[in-house]
Symmetry: C2
DNA sequence: TTGTACGCGTTATCAA
DNA sequence: TTGATAACGCGTACAA
């Protein structure tokens, strides 16, 4: 196993010099530095994480988590994953602080970022897709903060890592599943959250793309509910009255509970087949009642866990992630394999 | 953060004494040892893995992997997960050696275990469910070897950890999925691997249990193929000739490719709906052709990765797993969300 | 520009 | 039965 000490001996310099050369701290002769780096490369030197961790202990790096989790039970599992990871890494001096918000007000999120900017070494954020947030993220990256976007990505930033699901494929999967369950033809209602959320649009695109193949499928209407259950309930109720021919509903975002309550007012024989996303408690309840036939799962626990893990690897072990994103698979869940 | 040093100061002894007391190395006064342990417990002392790793580096512990992977592509992903984990942990001095076999001959596996017993510190095994193997595993546990069973468990052993899927639930899921896709009634052929493999039996039990709810479902026949594609082909061909009423096939084990080749001899309109397990390349091919409608996935990569991870945690960090098993969820895959 | 020395937490060895 | 000391690999403050 090759260590700094060995390289130092081989190059006839001190270990301090090797450290300065390999970590680009300056104050070292250019030629000897070049030589040291060459030797290290040839020997395939990899810093030992244990040593790094031990030395980094006094730093007590801080991860700030900015997430719109209030009133959105989807994030419960994400946060649980983060917590479990943080507990494992606490021993390396890693600290984690949560800054939760309610809703998707970009000004509020921006204010939060401004407030915590100086106190954190890494940022894990569920970003609102607005230019002001993108600009702030780039600013923080430039200031040396390691930035991970989680569950939703944001356009035009130099964030270091994204961990989340494949939304476009999620839409494709929802449509393919609908075809598998309904057969050749269906009158479909598509339910969206907000068009401002990048992922929701992508799911719709995926769904539509896949639908081109199924000539017997027809989208009766596409309704938006702003992830609000009351609005979702009212909208779906009206839609079902206007279009009694609807026999399938694909919910591509939140508002699942509201939609289901509207559907439950129909007699069981008249109820359309319902597909949803995620496995929040109310959705599981509706699956138990048989109102929702299947749901698509995007590994929320692992999303949270991996986000913290990547920040940890960077802060404590100095390792940049080898990929730029970690995209979870979409999994189909019936009540039986929840 | 509480360290040995702090405990030593608090107890007015040296770190060496604390080490001996906490790690039960003897050569320490019984009362002071008791006191030290009490203080450590009250302060919630947790050994620092980084420190342990650094100090344990000269040990170079060895994991031996005994697995019937030859000619079974399911294990490719399991082995990939093991390899990735091993690469990450190599820096801690962890070594891994693979001993692969073909088929399920318990005598051969036993001979292998006898051969490597003295050279390994941990064993990761895909065990054959026979008393002689169980006895040997217990013997190795007693000799201080950390034993993880992977993908299949074994009765009557004191193995430390099992990582694999929930077979009973897999059978339930397969039946529930069939119901979702076929509706109220179906004439089902069930395909088994070998009755000697614990998991296959459990899947069958789960399938049957779930079927009690669906009165329109009828099992035409249950055939066994010993995980052999040629045998599977022949058996299925004959079965389809004898029972043209079959409109659904649930394959609960291997032999998927053989079964599908037999089905492909029917004209597309006459082909039954097919469900399988796992996502080996030939199964994916058959999904692309539309012969297999859906398959159930049991996270093979994570199985391999977690098995090595648990062995690593024990060998390098001295941490016993907090659970006794890690059971993967069964995931439903269409071609679209593979 | 370079080298030395210490600390991080744990384990092992040797001396008392 | 104990304590002191060195070692593991890395980062860093300080001396040369």
């Amino acid at each position: 196993m090759v260590t700094m000490k060995k390289i130092a001996e081989l190059c006839g310099v001190s270990r301090g010099t090797v450290d300065r050369a390999l970590n680009g701290r300056g104050r070292v002769n250019v030629e000897t530095a070049e030589n040291i780096r060459e030797v290290a490369r040839q020997l395939g030197y990899e810093p030992n994480p244990a040593g790094k961790a031990l030395a980094a202990r006094k730093k007590r790096p801080v991860i700030g988590v900015v997430i719109s989790s209030e009133g959105n039970t989807f994030f419960d599992e994400v946060l649980r994953g983060m917590n479990d990871a943080a507990r494992d890494y606490a021993i390396y001096g890693l600290q984690i602080e949560y800054f939760t918000m309610k809703g998707y007000d970009s000004k509020q999120q921006l204010a939060l970022l401004n407030q915590i900017e100086g106190d954190i070494n890494a940022l894990i954020i569920n970003p609102i897709n607005e230019p002001c947030i993108a600009a702030k993220i780039n600013e923080m990256v430039d200031a040396g903060i390691f930035v991970v976007t989680v569950n939703n990505d944001i356009d035009g930033t130099r964030r270091h890592y994204y961990v989340g699901s494949d939304y476009y494929n999620g839409g494709i999967t929802s449509c393919a599943l609908l075809e598998a369950l309904m057969g050749e033809s269906a009158e479909v209602a598509v339910v969206l959250g907000s068009r401002n959320i990048l992922g929701h649009r992508q799911r719709l695109d995926g769904f539509r793309h896949r639908m081109e193949r199924v000539k017997g499928f027809h989208i009766v209407d596409t309704v938006e509910n702003n992830d609000d259950d009351i609005l979702a309930y009212e909208t779906m109720k009206r839609l079902l009255e206007t279009h009694p021919e609807i026999n399938a509903v694909s919910i591509l975002a939140a508002g699942v509970y509201g939609v289901c309550r509207a559907i439950m007012q129909l007699t069981p024989e008249k109820r359309p087949l319902v597909l949803a996303f995620d496995t929040v408690p109310t959705t599981i309840e509706m699956m138990k009642f048989g109102v929702i036939k299947a749901t698509i799962y995007q590994h929320p626990y692992r999303q949270g866990h991996n986000a913290v893990n990547k920040a940890f690897e960077y802060l404590v072990n100095g390792r940049m992630p080898d990929k730029e994103a970690d995209i979870m698979k979409n999994e189909i869940k019936l009540f039986e394999n929840l």
